[in-house]
């Protein structure tokens, strides 16, 4: 392996610094050494040619490595769905260089030994940077706080019982109070379990037609409203996972105007699909929260554009056929998303909904800031985590070619634009598309 890397002549977009132009990017020993406008780059590379690997990036997009603050890697416990290694490969194939992984494994990541196990598995995989999220409560039971100080020491960067909602408001209050001095956010999966009980899709006209029990938007909104009040009460940091309703967008917008310490994410699938997609009873459209109506999709798109929602996160949730190729009511919630996320958002750029620079921010600096991560920027001296994308290259999503161990993608069969060509972590090309 050569010690230095030159990515030459690509269109570099780095929303953190506001850079957007044709640049040469020099990498040395895993760090960004220099970023120089291609037109004015007079660096003499002949003297170091033997040591220098050159990637010709003309016509390609050169981005800070993408950041995903919401994935499920299923290890330990559900390795038949996904392992840390297969999830890391899926992330690399999707252009992600830093991903956060949720705590709902078996055993739950509610103690430092599980955290250290995940970190060791990530190191063995040696691909992308994997940062564990610790559970809020022991066993996700919503009753006893995890040892958050120790979880942080072991490497957890946030806390969440994601997959289920923290049902007890008094317990949520304690979690926010206890986590606040640690400076780490509590990620809320907002779903009132009584209101959503038995529901398997959005409650509305489509659920009535399909004869499926619905989940009202209020199931999400009441918990978001509660957690906003609790953030005010405690001064804790709340991050709202997978916003799906217009009501939640409005609640967060108002909270941010009031100065509440709150951030939020939305998934690609909640940005592009509505509950109309369920009419064929394809369980690859069954997820939690459920796909909502066109009005909700409009609201989350606007919320993302105007900064109410900070970032896009995949909620990558691998499930095998035994959880998905079964009757609707018993099928598991969730879809894989790492490998299709950027392309799905670029589809919205093609439609004129968002700009390219906006979506780059939603995948880089914005999620990094929401979780206080040193990632998502191209800055001299920082880690050389870089993603190269060919915007004009079409590709078709096929179960056979997805890197994830699970194939439960709602995009199967779709032809998408924007193909990840190279993913670089600490100056090493870990993925070639």
């Amino acid at each position: 392996m050569k010690k230095r890397l030159l990515i030459r002549g690509g269109r570099l977009i780095d929303p953190a610094s506001g850079m957007d132009g044709i640049y040469n990017v020099y990498v040395r020993e895993g760090r960004l050494e220099a970023i120089i406008e291609t037109a004015s780059d007079e660096t003499d590379i002949t003297s170091t040619a033997a040591d220098l690997e050159i990637i010709e990036a003309a016509g390609l997009l050169v981005l800070p490595g993408l950041v995903d603050v919401h994935t499920h890697l299923r290890e330990p416990g559900f390795e038949y769905k996904e392992t840390v290694a297969t999830g890391a490969l899926a992330a690399a194939a999707g252009g992600f260089t830093t991903i956060l992984t949720m705590a709902n494994t078996l055993p739950v990541n509610d103690n430092q030994s599980v955290t250290r196990y995940i970190i060791r598995k990530a190191a063995e995989a040696g691909l992308v940077k994997i940062l564990p999220i610790g559970a809020v409560s022991i066993g996700l039971s919503g009753q006893v706080l995890t040892e958050m100080v120790e979880l942080k020491e072991a490497g957890c960067v946030a806390f969440s019982d994601d997959g289920i909602s923290v049902a007890n408001p008094a317990f949520m209050r304690q979690a926010l109070e206890y986590a606040a001095p640690l400076g780490l956010p509590v990620i809320t999966h907002a779903e009132d379990p009584e209101l959503s009980c038995g529901g398997t899709m959005n409650e509305g006209t489509v659920s009535t037609v399909l004869g499926l029990k619905g989940i009202p938007v209020a199931a999400e909104d009441v918990v978001v409203a509660r957690d906003i009040e609790l953030a005010k009460l405690t001064g804790g940091r709340v991050h709202v996972a997978h916003v799906s309703t217009a009501g939640t967008v409005e609640l967060i917008r108002n909270a941010k105007q009031e100065g509440v310490n709150i951030t939020a994410e939305v998934t690609p699938h909640h940005l592009v699909f509505t509950d109309e997609a369920l009419r064929s009873y394809d369980t690859n459209f069954k997820m939690s929260p459920p796909l909502r109506t066109a009005d909700d999709v409009r609201a989350v798109r606007e919320g993302l554009k105007n900064g109410t929602i900070d970032c896009v996160a995949t909620d990558h949730a691998p499930h095998s056929t035994i959880e998905k190729d079964i009757e609707w009511s018993a099928a598991a919630n969730g879809v894989v998303g790492l490998e299709t996320a950027f392309s799905a958002l670029y589809g919205l750029v093609s439609e004129g909904v968002l700009t390219l620079n906006e979506i780059v921010a939603f995948f880089t600096i914005n999620p990094a800031r929401a979780m206080s991560l040193a990632a998502g920027v191209l800055k001299v001296g920082s880690a050389a985590d870089i993603t190269l994308i060919d915007l004009d290259k079409n590709w078709t999503v096929e179960a056979e070619t997805l890197r994830s161990r699970s194939k439960n993608s709602p995009f199967i069969g779709q032809t998408m634009k924007a193909r990840v060509l190279k993913t670089i972590v600490d100056g090493v090309v870990i993925y070639n598309g």
């Binding site: 509305g204 004869g211 035994i322 009511s329 018993a330």
Partner: protein, 310 residues
């Protein structure tokens, strides 16, 4: 004559012509059940599997009798467990059934959409015998048939459907069926039993049963399923019976020659009083009789010989 489709899954997707063909065919098969020898050889050598994931007596028996009166071989499979509990996917289930070379699989499942999912994997015909709260197409067809026998036409009739619409596949299929044929359908029940967007199915919606029954030509009552009442959709069977149950007084608001229907099994004294259920306007048992004829017609039109054009 055959239906130009592999499966019968919903009323929603049936055309007017298809519904007309099924009803006309059922009329000719009804005679078979009235004869001493209740059998025609039409489907000899055909295999029909009744795959029931939900307990059912009358629907399963009706399909079985229909299959046998057509001389096909009918096999009943009753499964309490869902595929997931057996560690089997729906594709596995479909492939295993297909390996036995059936000509038709009749599916009832508690989860909406399962017949559709199975039909995608199966090359044989699939008939939906009720999926969750989605559809129960043969019930709606036999209800159409029964009303047509008595009223001669469906167009412009006023139909009241009263009860727990939210959980009723019979209601959904009947709303589609009767509105397609030009009837005016009003669905009524407590707000907690009326799902959102119900009017998008093509019916009027009211919480006042009297409004629905007023001048109705057909009053269709739905079963109140006591096992579903743990979600407190209604305060008590007593109040339900009083406000929504069909009694003589409410029935007197209907058209003079109104008929009363119920998909069964009835909860006497809850959604319908015994005197109305057993009264002269009640067609509840005729519905059961007609169910066999309609299901014979469905089997014939999906599996029977394709008639040569002359």
């Amino acid at each position: 004559m055959r239906l130009d489709r592999k499966d019968l899954l919903t009323i929603k997707d049936l055309s007017l012509d298809e519904i007309g063909l099924i009803l006309d065919t059922a009329a000719s098969f009804k005679e078979v059940s009235e004869k001493d020898i209740k059998k025609v050889p039409t489907l000899r050598g055909r295999t029909i599997i009744n795959l029931f994931y939900e307990p059912s007596t009358r629907t399963r028996t009706s399909f079985e009798i229909a299959a046998k009166r057509m001389s096909s071989d009918a096999i009943n499979i009753s499964l309490a467990a869902s595929s997931v509990k057996k560690g089997e996917t729906l594709s596995d289930t479909a492939r295993n059934l297909e390996a036995m070379r059936p000509d038709c699989i009749v599916v009832r499942h508690g989860s909406a959409g399962t017949p559709q999912m199975l039909a995608r994997h199966l090359s044989c015909s699939v008939v939906n015998a009720g999926d969750g709260a989605h559809e129960h197409p043969t019930q709606a067809l036999l209800d159409l048939f029964t009303v047509k026998e008595h009223k001669k036409h469906i167009k412009d009739l006023k139909i009241a459907i009263i009860g727990d619409i939210t959980h009723s596949r019979v209601a959904r299929s009947n709303i589609y069926a009767f509105t397609k044929l030009g009837a005016r359908v009003t669905a009524a029940g407590p707000r907690t039993m009326l799902p959102p967007g119900l009017s998008s199915l093509g019916c009027e919606v009211t919480t006042d049963p009297r409004e629905a029954i007023k001048n109705a030509d057909v009053v269709m009552m739905l079963r109140i399923q006591s096992e579903r009442q743990n979600n407190s959709a209604i305060p008590s069977a007593r109040e339900y019976a009083r406000v929504y149950g069909l009694d003589k007084e409410k029935l007197s608001l209907a058209a003079k020659d109104a008929i009363v229907m119920h998909p069964g099994p009835i909860n006497r004294g809850v959604e319908i009083t015994p005197e109305v259920a057993d009264g002269t306007k009640s067609l509840i048992l005729e519905q059961v009789t007609n169910g066999v004829a309609v299901r014979m017609a469905v089997f014939y039109l999906l599996l029977g010989p394709v008639r040569e054009e002359d």
